[in-house]
């Protein structure tokens, strides 16, 4: 299967699940925290992403609980999901490192011409 670039909400959902199972709203809150409040997932978006990730076997259901009369469905990362998250994190880190190296080069050349 060819690996396509992962969109940020998908990345944040996988990252939010990295340290254990979580239910819907906990995922929304965690994604907001991970992105410093920049990404506020809507419920429709979240469940579409979870459905797609489930089809790709990157996440799976981890039980239902009823709390205060509300159903909370939990999700967890599969091994394949953890591996995919690792790959994406490495890709992003590599891009960030390349960008930083370029910026260092720019700073050095600016200092030399000053």
């Amino acid at each position: 299967m060819t690996t396509t670039e992962m969109r940020e909400p998908t990345f944040l959902v996988l990252a939010a699940l990295a340290d254990g199972r979580k239910h819907g709203y906990a995922l929304i809150a965690e994604a907001a925290e991970l992105s410093d409040g920049r990404v506020q997932l809507k419920v429709g978006t979240l469940y579409a992403a979870l459905d797609r990730l489930g089809e790709q076997q990157l996440v799976e259901g981890a039980g239902d609980e009823v709390v205060g009369g509300r159903l909370r469905r939990y999700y967890r990362l599969t091994d394949a999901g953890a591996e995919r998250l690792e790959q994406e994190a490495e890709r992003l880190a590599s891009n960030a490192a390349s960008a930083r190296a370029k910026l260092r080069g720019r700073t050095a050349s600016t200092a030399a011409t000053a």
Partner: protein
């Protein structure tokens, strides 16, 4: 938490098909109520409701048609829409062969129809140039792999087209292509946006091949318009439209594509061609029923809304599978 809030969320969740609701509605409702509680909300936010509408309808489309058919129909729509837009742009909006002074443009020469001199849109015939250019640019961006940007660009063509038609009768309005042409491009844009061929290399290759094939279909039209030894006037876009989607040749091409796909056992392509075929068929039907501009749009939109309601009510699922035993 009020029962009214829960009721309103349940109504919003009705946009999802029944199969989905049975599996997920309670969990989604729990999440919506958790979120409302955490943010101190006592009525659904408009953005949340719109989000449920969009994803609910998308899920209905997914339920009714498998992704393989939708992605192929989307790729075909991208290709056809881009080729059609490019042809219309060159043949009717730009028309370089018309010369620097737009040979014969009645509104440039104060001509026979008494149109104002400034009715043309800059160097182009009408403001339709914006919609057509946006379509072609969206295709290029999509083929380059930036699917989200491409979809937003395509989405922007929809309000632009509606505005062109809606403000048509205003004294300051600019000229525009026929409403039927804009309607077809609008339908193709919706088709293109409902799949995601831009996400994979194979999907983008389908888009390119579809565009090349469709260009072969519309290119004779450009040459034909260029060869017309007539004064360039307002009815040429209408003639172009008549050239592109005459019912019989169109149905012939559609039937041929479906037949070839079925013989080759490419059932997903057959489904995609049939699905795509509905869009021009709606336009043709609208033209046949009432050869009028505003009426054409209204009838077409009415048919689309009825189809949408049917999809909402039915939740049927089309499943494509190979027969066992290699028969």
């Amino acid at each position: 938490m009020s029962a009214e809030l829960e009721r309103r969320y349940r109504v919003a969740l009705d946009w999802y098909p029944s199969v989905w609701r049975e599996a997920n509605a309670d969990a989604m409702l729990g999440t919506l109520l958790d979120e409302a509680e955490a943010t101190g909300r006592d009525r659904p936010a408009l953005t949340q409701t719109l989000n449920l509408l969009v994803f609910g309808l998308r899920e209905r489309a997914r339920t009714a048609l498998p992704a393989s058919v939708r992605d192929r129909a989307s790729a075909l729509a991208w290709g056809l829409g881009a080729a059609l837009s490019a042809a219309m742009f060159v043949a009717t909006e730009w028309a370089p062969w018309a010369g620097g002074d737009r040979y014969g443009l009645p509104w440039k020469s104060g001509g026979q129809y008494g149109l104002p001199l400034d009715a043309a849109f800059g160097p182009f015939t009408s403001a339709g140039a914006v919609v057509l250019a946006l379509w072609v640019a969206a295709f290029v961006v999509g083929v380059a792999g930036a699917g989200t940007v491409a979809r937003w660009m395509l989405a922007a063509t929809l309000p632009a087209s509606v505005a062109l038609v809606a403000f048509d009768s205003q004294p300051w309005a600019v000229l525009r292509p026929t409403s039927t042409g804009l309607f077809l491009l609008g339908l193709l844009a919706v088709y293109a946006m409902q799949g995601s061929p831009t996400a994979s290399r194979r999907g983008r290759a389908w888009m390119l091949v579809a565009a090349i094939g469709a260009t072969g279909f519309v290119l004779p039209l450009v040459f034909r318009v260029a060869s017309w030894n007539v004064l360039y006037d307002w009815w040429i876009p209408r003639m172009v439209w008549g050239e592109v989607v005459r019912p019989l040749p169109y149905l012939g091409v559609l039937a041929g594509v479906v037949l070839i796909a079925v013989i080759a056992r490419r059932y997903a392509w057959a489904g995609a061609a049939l699905l795509l075929g509905v869009a021009p068929l709606l336009c043709i039907a609208a033209i046949v029923v009432a050869y009028g501009e505003a009426l054409t749009i209204l009838i077409g939109l009415g048919v689309v809304v009825m189809l949408a309601i049917l999809v909402r009510q039915s939740g049927y699922r089309l499943v494509l599978q190979r027969r066992d035993g290699g028969a």
